[in-house]
Protein backbone atom coordinates (compact mmCIF):
# COMPACT_ATOMS: atom_id res chain seq x y z
CA UNK A 1 0.00 0.00 0.00
CA UNK A 2 1.39 3.41 -0.93
CA UNK A 3 2.17 6.00 1.72
CA UNK A 4 -0.86 8.34 1.66
CA UNK A 5 1.35 11.30 2.48
CA UNK A 6 3.83 10.62 -0.32
CA UNK A 7 1.07 10.17 -2.88
CA UNK A 8 -0.65 13.43 -1.87
CA UNK A 9 -0.72 16.28 -4.38
CA UNK A 10 1.27 19.36 -3.42
CA UNK A 11 -1.74 21.68 -3.07
CA UNK A 12 -3.54 19.16 -0.89
CA UNK A 13 -0.44 18.65 1.22
CA UNK A 14 0.16 22.36 1.80
CA UNK A 15 -3.52 23.03 2.55
CA UNK A 16 -3.64 20.19 5.06
CA UNK A 17 -0.41 21.24 6.72
CA UNK A 18 -1.57 24.85 7.13
CA UNK A 19 -4.94 23.76 8.46
CA UNK A 20 -3.51 21.34 11.01
CA UNK A 21 -1.00 23.96 12.09
CA UNK A 22 -3.77 26.51 12.58
CA UNK A 23 -5.86 24.01 14.53
CA UNK A 24 -2.91 23.09 16.76
CA UNK A 25 -1.99 26.70 17.49
CA UNK A 26 -5.57 27.69 18.25
CA UNK A 27 -6.05 24.73 20.54
CA UNK A 28 -2.83 25.56 22.36
CA UNK A 29 -3.84 29.16 22.91
CA UNK A 30 -7.38 28.16 23.86
CA UNK A 31 -5.86 25.87 26.49
CA UNK A 32 -3.82 28.76 27.83
CA UNK A 33 -6.86 31.03 27.98
CA UNK A 34 -8.82 28.31 29.78
CA UNK A 35 -5.97 27.83 32.24
CA UNK A 36 -6.18 31.47 33.28
CA UNK A 37 -9.67 30.81 34.62
CA UNK A 38 -9.04 27.28 35.90
CA UNK A 39 -8.43 28.69 39.37
CA UNK A 40 -11.04 31.42 39.04
CA UNK A 41 -14.24 29.66 38.09
CA UNK A 42 -17.40 30.73 39.91
CA UNK A 43 -17.64 27.39 41.72
CA UNK A 44 -15.08 24.76 42.63
CA UNK A 45 -16.80 22.27 40.36
CA UNK A 46 -16.71 24.69 37.43
CA UNK A 47 -13.00 25.30 38.02
CA UNK A 48 -12.16 21.60 38.15
CA UNK A 49 -14.06 20.92 34.95
CA UNK A 50 -12.29 23.81 33.26
CA UNK A 51 -8.93 22.46 34.42
CA UNK A 52 -9.78 19.19 32.68
CA UNK A 53 -10.74 21.11 29.53
CA UNK A 54 -7.43 22.97 29.70
CA UNK A 55 -5.61 19.68 29.77
CA UNK A 56 -7.70 18.40 26.87
CA UNK A 57 -6.94 21.39 24.65
CA UNK A 58 -3.22 21.39 25.38
CA UNK A 59 -3.15 17.64 24.84
CA UNK A 60 -4.95 17.95 21.50
CA UNK A 61 -2.50 20.62 20.49
CA UNK A 62 0.46 18.39 21.28
CA UNK A 63 -1.07 15.49 19.38
CA UNK A 64 -1.59 17.73 16.36
CA UNK A 65 2.02 18.91 16.52
CA UNK A 66 2.94 15.26 16.35
CA UNK A 67 0.92 15.01 13.17
CA UNK A 68 2.78 18.00 11.78
CA UNK A 69 6.02 16.19 12.45
CA UNK A 70 4.74 13.30 10.35
CA UNK A 71 3.58 15.64 7.63
CA UNK A 72 6.90 17.42 7.59
CA UNK A 73 8.83 14.18 7.74
CA UNK A 74 11.19 15.24 10.49
CA UNK A 75 10.95 15.44 14.28
CA UNK A 76 10.52 18.80 15.97
CA UNK A 77 13.13 20.02 18.43
CA UNK A 78 10.52 21.76 20.59
CA UNK A 79 7.47 24.00 20.63
CA UNK A 80 9.48 26.82 19.11
CA UNK A 81 9.56 24.89 15.84
CA UNK A 82 5.82 25.34 15.51
CA UNK A 83 4.81 28.49 17.28
CA UNK A 84 4.32 31.38 14.92
CA UNK A 85 3.46 34.78 16.35
CA UNK A 86 0.07 35.88 15.09
CA UNK A 87 -1.03 32.47 13.88
CA UNK A 88 -3.93 32.10 16.30
CA UNK A 89 -7.36 33.66 16.07
CA UNK A 90 -7.59 37.23 17.31
CA UNK A 91 -10.07 36.50 20.12
CA UNK A 92 -7.52 34.18 21.71
CA UNK A 93 -4.68 36.67 21.79
CA UNK A 94 -5.95 38.40 24.95
CA UNK A 95 -7.10 37.00 28.32
CA UNK A 96 -10.87 36.75 28.70
CA UNK A 97 -12.19 39.72 30.67
CA UNK A 98 -14.93 37.82 32.48
CA UNK A 99 -16.30 34.35 33.02
CA UNK A 100 -19.05 35.23 30.57
CA UNK A 101 -16.43 35.86 27.87
CA UNK A 102 -14.96 32.43 28.55
CA UNK A 103 -18.36 30.81 28.18
CA UNK A 104 -18.90 32.63 24.87
CA UNK A 105 -15.60 31.30 23.54
CA UNK A 106 -16.32 27.76 24.73
CA UNK A 107 -19.67 27.70 22.97
CA UNK A 108 -18.79 29.61 19.83
CA UNK A 109 -15.10 28.95 19.18
CA UNK A 110 -14.19 25.66 20.83
CA UNK A 111 -17.16 24.22 18.94
CA UNK A 112 -15.86 25.58 15.64
CA UNK A 113 -12.54 23.81 16.15
CA UNK A 114 -14.46 20.64 17.02
CA UNK A 115 -16.57 20.96 13.88
CA UNK A 116 -13.38 20.66 11.86
CA UNK A 117 -12.02 17.81 13.97
CA UNK A 118 -15.27 15.90 13.48
CA UNK A 119 -14.90 16.28 9.71
CA UNK A 120 -11.58 14.47 9.96
CA UNK A 121 -12.88 11.41 11.84
CA UNK A 122 -13.67 9.70 8.52
CA UNK A 123 -10.45 10.83 6.86
CA UNK A 124 -8.77 8.59 4.31
CA UNK A 125 -5.48 9.90 5.71
CA UNK A 126 -4.87 7.50 8.64
CA UNK A 127 -2.49 9.70 10.68
CA UNK A 128 -5.20 12.35 10.84
CA UNK A 129 -8.14 10.01 11.28
CA UNK A 130 -6.70 8.09 14.21
CA UNK A 131 -5.88 11.27 16.12
CA UNK A 132 -9.32 12.80 15.93
CA UNK A 133 -11.61 10.16 17.44
CA UNK A 134 -10.54 10.72 21.05
CA UNK A 135 -10.60 14.48 20.58
CA UNK A 136 -14.23 14.39 19.49
CA UNK A 137 -15.12 12.23 22.48
CA UNK A 138 -13.50 14.69 24.91
CA UNK A 139 -14.99 17.70 23.19
CA UNK A 140 -18.51 16.41 23.84
CA UNK A 141 -18.03 17.49 27.44
CA UNK A 142 -16.75 20.91 26.43
CA UNK A 143 -19.93 21.38 24.42
CA UNK A 144 -22.16 20.38 27.31
CA UNK A 145 -20.24 22.54 29.73
CA UNK A 146 -20.35 25.60 27.51
CA UNK A 147 -23.99 25.32 26.53
CA UNK A 148 -25.12 24.68 30.09
CA UNK A 149 -23.25 27.71 31.37
CA UNK A 150 -24.45 29.90 28.52
CA UNK A 151 -28.05 28.88 29.05
CA UNK A 152 -27.69 29.64 32.73
CA UNK A 153 -26.03 33.02 32.30
CA UNK A 154 -28.28 34.10 29.43
CA UNK A 155 -31.33 34.04 31.69
CA UNK A 156 -30.12 37.33 33.10
CA UNK A 157 -30.69 40.30 30.77
CA UNK A 158 -27.65 42.21 32.02
CA UNK A 159 -25.32 39.28 31.51
CA UNK A 160 -26.90 38.56 28.15
CA UNK A 161 -26.05 42.08 27.03
CA UNK A 162 -22.44 41.67 28.22
CA UNK A 163 -22.15 38.46 26.21
CA UNK A 164 -23.72 39.72 22.98
CA UNK A 165 -20.83 41.78 21.62
CA UNK A 166 -18.08 39.20 22.18
CA UNK A 167 -20.44 36.54 20.85
CA UNK A 168 -20.78 38.33 17.53
CA UNK A 169 -17.02 38.87 17.33
CA UNK A 170 -16.19 35.26 18.17
CA UNK A 171 -18.83 33.93 15.81
CA UNK A 172 -17.52 36.08 12.96
CA UNK A 173 -13.96 34.89 13.55
CA UNK A 174 -15.04 31.27 13.79
CA UNK A 175 -16.98 31.41 10.54
CA UNK A 176 -14.05 33.06 8.82
CA UNK A 177 -11.64 30.46 10.14
CA UNK A 178 -13.23 27.77 7.97
CA UNK A 179 -12.18 29.84 4.98
CA UNK A 180 -14.01 31.63 2.18
CA UNK A 181 -16.52 29.83 -0.06
CA UNK A 182 -14.79 27.02 -1.91
CA UNK A 183 -11.88 26.84 0.49
CA UNK A 184 -10.68 23.38 1.60
CA UNK A 185 -12.25 21.87 -1.53
CA UNK A 186 -9.10 19.84 -2.32
CA UNK A 187 -9.28 18.23 1.14
CA UNK A 188 -12.97 17.43 0.61
CA UNK A 189 -12.39 16.03 -2.88
CA UNK A 190 -9.64 13.69 -1.72
CA UNK A 191 -11.56 12.47 1.35
CA UNK A 192 -9.11 13.92 3.83
CA UNK A 193 -12.05 15.85 5.29
CA UNK A 194 -15.69 15.04 4.74
CA UNK A 195 -16.60 18.70 4.27
CA UNK A 196 -15.28 21.84 2.60
CA UNK A 197 -15.38 25.32 4.12
CA UNK A 198 -19.03 25.95 3.24
CA UNK A 199 -20.20 22.62 4.62
CA UNK A 200 -18.19 23.13 7.80
CA UNK A 201 -19.73 26.56 8.23
CA UNK A 202 -23.22 25.12 7.75
CA UNK A 203 -22.58 22.47 10.38
CA UNK A 204 -21.19 25.07 12.74
CA UNK A 205 -24.22 27.33 12.21
CA UNK A 206 -26.61 24.50 13.02
CA UNK A 207 -24.61 23.78 16.13
CA UNK A 208 -24.61 27.29 17.56
CA UNK A 209 -27.94 28.70 16.36
CA UNK A 210 -29.74 28.03 19.64
CA UNK A 211 -26.88 29.56 21.62
CA UNK A 212 -27.07 32.77 19.63
CA UNK A 213 -30.83 32.86 20.05
CA UNK A 214 -30.38 32.52 23.81
CA UNK A 215 -28.36 35.73 23.60
CA UNK A 216 -31.05 37.44 21.49
CA UNK A 217 -28.77 37.26 18.45
CA UNK A 218 -29.47 35.94 14.99
CA UNK A 219 -27.10 34.13 12.68
CA UNK A 220 -28.01 36.57 9.94
CA UNK A 221 -26.35 39.30 12.01
CA UNK A 222 -22.99 37.62 11.52
CA UNK A 223 -21.31 38.96 8.40
CA UNK A 224 -17.77 37.90 7.60
CA UNK A 225 -15.72 40.74 6.07
CA UNK A 226 -13.94 38.53 3.55
CA UNK A 227 -12.01 41.51 2.17
CA UNK A 228 -10.12 41.56 5.48
CA UNK A 229 -9.49 37.83 5.66
CA UNK A 230 -5.85 36.81 5.67
CA UNK A 231 -5.55 33.43 3.92
CA UNK A 232 -1.98 32.89 5.08
CA UNK A 233 -2.99 33.08 8.74
CA UNK A 234 -6.57 31.84 8.34
CA UNK A 235 -7.93 34.73 10.38
CA UNK A 236 -9.31 38.23 10.44
CA UNK A 237 -6.81 40.83 11.67
CA UNK A 238 -7.10 42.30 15.13
CA UNK A 239 -9.13 45.48 15.48
CA UNK A 240 -6.89 48.41 16.31
Amino acid sequence: MSDPWVSMEDDVRSTLQALVHSLAENKKLLGRRYSEWAVGGPTLEAAIALSAMTQDELGHSRVLYGLLEELRGMPATGDADWTVEGWSLSVLTRPFETWAHLVVVTVLLDSALTTLVEAATTSVFPPLQRRTRKMVEEERYHDRYGFQWLERLARHPQVRRVMAEPALQVCTEAMAWFGPPGDLAPLRATGILNADADELRDRYCRRIRSALEALDLRLEAVVVPWDRWDPAWRRLPLDD
Binding site: T43, E45, I48, R144
Partner: protein, 77 residues
Protein backbone atom coordinates in the same frame (compact mmCIF):
# COMPACT_ATOMS: atom_id res chain seq x y z
CA UNK B 1 -31.64 38.04 41.06
CA UNK B 2 -28.09 36.71 41.51
CA UNK B 3 -26.48 35.18 38.43
CA UNK B 4 -25.56 31.96 40.24
CA UNK B 5 -28.98 31.43 41.73
CA UNK B 6 -30.07 27.87 42.24
CA UNK B 7 -27.69 25.03 43.02
CA UNK B 8 -28.34 21.66 44.49
CA UNK B 9 -26.21 18.98 46.12
CA UNK B 10 -25.97 15.65 44.33
CA UNK B 11 -24.62 12.46 45.85
CA UNK B 12 -22.28 10.51 43.57
CA UNK B 13 -22.19 6.70 43.62
CA UNK B 14 -19.96 4.43 41.56
CA UNK B 15 -18.66 0.88 41.26
CA UNK B 16 -15.55 -0.59 39.70
CA UNK B 17 -17.02 -3.90 38.64
CA UNK B 18 -20.50 -4.93 37.65
CA UNK B 19 -20.84 -7.46 40.44
CA UNK B 20 -20.00 -4.86 43.10
CA UNK B 21 -22.58 -2.66 44.78
CA UNK B 22 -22.58 1.04 44.06
CA UNK B 23 -20.72 2.89 46.76
CA UNK B 24 -20.75 6.51 47.74
CA UNK B 25 -17.74 8.36 46.32
CA UNK B 26 -18.62 11.99 47.05
CA UNK B 27 -20.84 14.92 46.22
CA UNK B 28 -21.07 17.68 43.64
CA UNK B 29 -22.88 20.98 43.73
CA UNK B 30 -24.56 21.82 40.46
CA UNK B 31 -27.43 23.87 39.05
CA UNK B 32 -29.07 20.90 37.32
CA UNK B 33 -28.77 17.19 36.62
CA UNK B 34 -26.83 17.64 33.38
CA UNK B 35 -24.11 19.67 35.08
CA UNK B 36 -24.09 17.29 38.04
CA UNK B 37 -23.37 14.40 35.67
CA UNK B 38 -20.62 16.35 33.95
CA UNK B 39 -18.99 17.49 37.20
CA UNK B 40 -19.16 14.01 38.72
CA UNK B 41 -17.45 12.52 35.71
CA UNK B 42 -14.64 15.08 35.80
CA UNK B 43 -14.09 15.19 39.56
CA UNK B 44 -14.37 11.51 40.46
CA UNK B 45 -12.36 10.11 37.56
CA UNK B 46 -9.80 8.27 39.69
CA UNK B 47 -11.03 4.89 38.46
CA UNK B 48 -12.25 3.21 35.31
CA UNK B 49 -15.76 2.96 36.73
CA UNK B 50 -18.18 0.35 35.47
CA UNK B 51 -21.01 2.63 36.55
CA UNK B 52 -21.45 6.06 38.10
CA UNK B 53 -24.72 7.72 39.06
CA UNK B 54 -25.77 10.98 40.65
CA UNK B 55 -28.75 11.37 42.95
CA UNK B 56 -30.17 14.68 44.11
CA UNK B 57 -29.67 14.73 47.85
CA UNK B 58 -33.20 16.05 48.17
CA UNK B 59 -34.50 12.85 46.58
CA UNK B 60 -33.05 10.64 49.28
CA UNK B 61 -35.75 9.61 51.73
CA UNK B 62 -34.57 8.75 55.21
CA UNK B 63 -36.22 5.67 56.62
CA UNK B 64 -36.43 7.32 60.00
CA UNK B 65 -35.31 10.77 61.13
CA UNK B 66 -33.02 9.27 63.77
CA UNK B 67 -30.93 7.70 60.98
CA UNK B 68 -29.61 11.13 60.12
CA UNK B 69 -32.42 12.02 57.82
CA UNK B 70 -32.68 15.57 59.03
CA UNK B 71 -29.10 16.44 58.04
CA UNK B 72 -29.51 14.87 54.59
CA UNK B 73 -32.74 16.72 53.97
CA UNK B 74 -31.28 20.03 55.07
CA UNK B 75 -28.31 19.65 52.75
CA UNK B 76 -25.72 19.56 55.54
CA UNK B 77 -22.82 17.15 55.31
Amino acid sequence: MPVLDHVEIYEVFARRRREEPLRHVGTVTAPNVEMARLYARVIYDEDMWDAMVVVPRAAIIPVEPRYGGSSWRSGRE
